[in-house]
């Protein structure tokens, strides 16, 4: 029998969707800032300050994104077991290592059954560790580049030391590349969610809206015993 189980708490879902929205907006505005391919007529009301508006939007959503990251980081320490930071490092436990191998075999068509888990599988957890690292790098490079506008400001004070080691052009290049890596991740992420939703029949897709997943009674018993 399948049981309905509350897995993703409100902060997890909220930050997920705020991240989605801000990454989409940041990618479009960021690409435009790097390569302003739309020529705006000066007759349009927004024309005389178009790049300014795009940059403003980029910065506003950057701050929203950072707020979301901070909330999610906090929740990784106080939230439930499936929101915990421990999910990022599955290789630390024997169970996690086994789950990692099972997931890899499943994706490589060497195993029919997807690994049975309540939260996300070990391979996904490991991927999120990489994504969290990319988020950090992207935020850091972003604030460093923003800080150059005012070298007396707080962002330059916090990040300006990096320019002793790296040229700002190289930092810009890294900022561009990470955007593409995050877009590539989004492609993978949506595909993997569709695949698992289809194969496991656990309501994965709706779970990121509702918070509820459908898990086997046997698995639920294991979870309850552990808890």
């Amino acid at each position: 029998m399948l049981r309905r189980l509350y897995v993703w708490e409100i902060p997890v879902r909220l930050t997920h969707w705020v991240n989605v929205l801000s990454i989409v907006v940041l990618s479009f505005t960021g690409y435009y800032i790097g390569n302003p391919w739309i020529l705006v007529s000066a007759r349009e009301w927004y024309g005389p300050y178009f790049m300014g508006i795009v940059r403003f939007t980029h910065f506003v959503f950057a701050f929203i994104f950072v707020a979301s990251l901070l909330l999610r980081t906090y929740w990784a320490f106080v939230g439930n077991a499936w929101a915990s930071w421990r999910n990022l490092f599955p290789f630390l436990t024997a169970e996690g290592r086994k789950s990692l191998g099972d997931a890899l075999k499943y994706y490589l068509f060497l195993r029919r059954e997807p690994p049975e888990v309540v939260g996300h599988n070990a391979l996904a957890g490991l991927t999120y560790a990489v994504i969290v690292f990319l988020y950090f790098l992207q935020t850091f490079t972003g604030f460093a580049l923003l800080g150059e506008v005012n070298t007396e400001g707080i962002w330059y004070k916090l990040t300006g030391w990096v320019f002793v080691f790296v040229s700002n052009q190289v930092l810009r290049q890294i900022h561009h590349l990470i955007m593409w890596l995050l877009i590539a991740f989004a492609v993978h992420h949506v595909y993997a969610a569709m695949l698992i939703d289809n194969e496991e029949g656990n309501g994965l897709m709706s779970s990121i809206f509702s918070g509820f997943k459908f898990v086997h009674a046997s698995l639920l018993k294991k979870v309850n015993n552990k808890g």
Binding site: M1, L2, Y31, G34, N35, P36, I38, L39, V40, A42, G47, P48, Y49, F50, M51, G52, V54, Y107, F109, R112, E113, E148, V149, T151, G160, W161, F163, V164, S167, N168, Q169, V170, R172, Q173, H176, L177, M179, W180, L181, I183, A184, V187, H188, Y191, A192, M194, L195, N198, E199, E200, G201, H216
Partner: protein, 370 residues
């Protein structure tokens, strides 16, 4: 020589520079140093009474372009006045003595101490620095001796700052700037290719007026000249904010003086006061003349600011013309193709071997594959 100090104003008066001209020069220096107007008087007092400090100008792996920029200031207001303030004891390009006499004037100055050094050009370190020798001594040896005993060292130009053109990849001579060649000395960097003579002069004026070097950023560049980005003071900035860009050289937008961002202008990445001070007595500057900034006052600008006509550097290891956005698009395309293929295989598998688990769930999976 140095103890004879007749007062700058008298010297200048004999050359036909009036007190009015002199005060105008002092005002310009106060403005360049971003000082309030009350400092004009203090600068004038200091310059009129200061003892002429001896100055040594060393040239290593350079093109003498920084010297040229400094000496070619057209009116007496910049170059001449500073040359009258300073007692230039050694400058290979403009000094009268040659050979042993030249070496002697350098040695005498070093022995006496209390002098300023200006370094132009990079210092090779590979193979014991044999790639640049003057009078049988390596540049590294000379720099260590002369800069080590100086009251202060000023580097002019990109080469003495971090190594400049000789330092660009693959850097065959192991060229470095003074900071790396002679660590731990009192040093101020005035990078640029060439640096603006106004900034060199203003730094010297600051030193003579206050007895200290001006405040610097973490790369040792004075904040009065390198404290703000070119982009943030650019006369074409309004066009940038409006999204009005030159699309190719010589198009209507270029004629209208629009922003050179898409032509690879490095103004957004470069700290310098070019837009406000300008070159050649305020005549013009690169962006004013319709060419993008190449970022010549930043570290490793030959490597990180090039290609000069493109927005971002090329990515090493991906061929000559590969830029971050093309590589990124390739990665996204590759990932999408890989997962599309994975999806097709997964769909076939799901059809051929349905998961046993679903049958026991009590959930009807009928019609799922239909």
């Amino acid at each position: 020589m140095n103890d004879f100090s007749p007062g700058l104003e008298n010297v200048l008066a004999r050359q036909g520079v009036t007190r009015r001209d002199f005060l105008k020069f002092c005002s310009a220096m106060a403005a360049t140093l971003v000082l309030p107007t009350r400092y004009v008087e203090r600068i004038a007092d200091a310059l009129a009474t200061v003892k002429r400090p001896p100055l040594v100008w060393l040239e290593f792996q350079d093109c003498a372009g920084c010297s040229e920029a400094f000496l070619r200031a057209s009116r007496p207001s910049v170059g001449d006045i500073v040359l009258d303030i300073l007692s230039v004891n050694y400058h290979e390009t403009i000094m009268a003595p040659a050979g042993k006499a030249a070496v002697k004037s350098l040695d005498d100055t070093v022995k006496e101490g209390g002098y300023l050094v200006v370094v132009e050009g990079s210092i090779p370190t590979k193979d014991n620095g044999i790639y640049c020798t003057i009078g049988g001594r390596t540049a590294l040896d000379i720099a260590k001796q002369v800069c080590g005993k100086a009251a202060a060292t000023l580097t002019v130009g990109a080469c003495a700052f971090y190594g400049g053109w000789p330092n660009a990849t693959p850097n065959p001579t192991g060229a470095v700037g003074v900071k790396d060649a002679v660590p731990g000395i009192t040093l101020l960097n005035l990078p640029g290719c060439p640096p603006n003579p106004v900034n060199i002069t203003a730094t010297v004026v600051h030193y003579l007026t206050f007895g200290s070097l001006p405040a610097t950023d973490q790369l040792g560049r004075p904040l009065f000249a390198y404290g703000t980005r070119i982009h943030d003071n650019c006369e074409r900035r309004a066009h940038y904010d409006a999204g009005e860009y030159v699309e190719e050289w010589g198009d209507d937008h270029a004629r209208a003086g629009w922003c050179l961002y898409k032509m690879g202008c490095k103004g957004p990445a470069t700290f310098h006061n070019c837009p406000t001070v300008r070159y050649n007595d305020g005549t013009s500057w690169p962006v004013g003349a319709g060419h993008g900034c190449v970022g010549c006052s930043e570290v490793a600008f030959w490597d990180t600011m090039s290609p000069f006509y493109r927005r971002l550097p090329n990515v090493a290891g991906f061929g000559v013309e590969a830029q971050a956005d093309q590589i990124g698009l390739g990665i996204v395309g590759g990932v999408a193709a890989a997962f599309a293929a994975h999806g097709v295989v997964s769909a076939i598998r799901a059809r051929q071997q349905p998961l046993a688990r679903h049958e026991s769930d009590g959930v009807s999976a009928e019609g799922k594959e239909g």
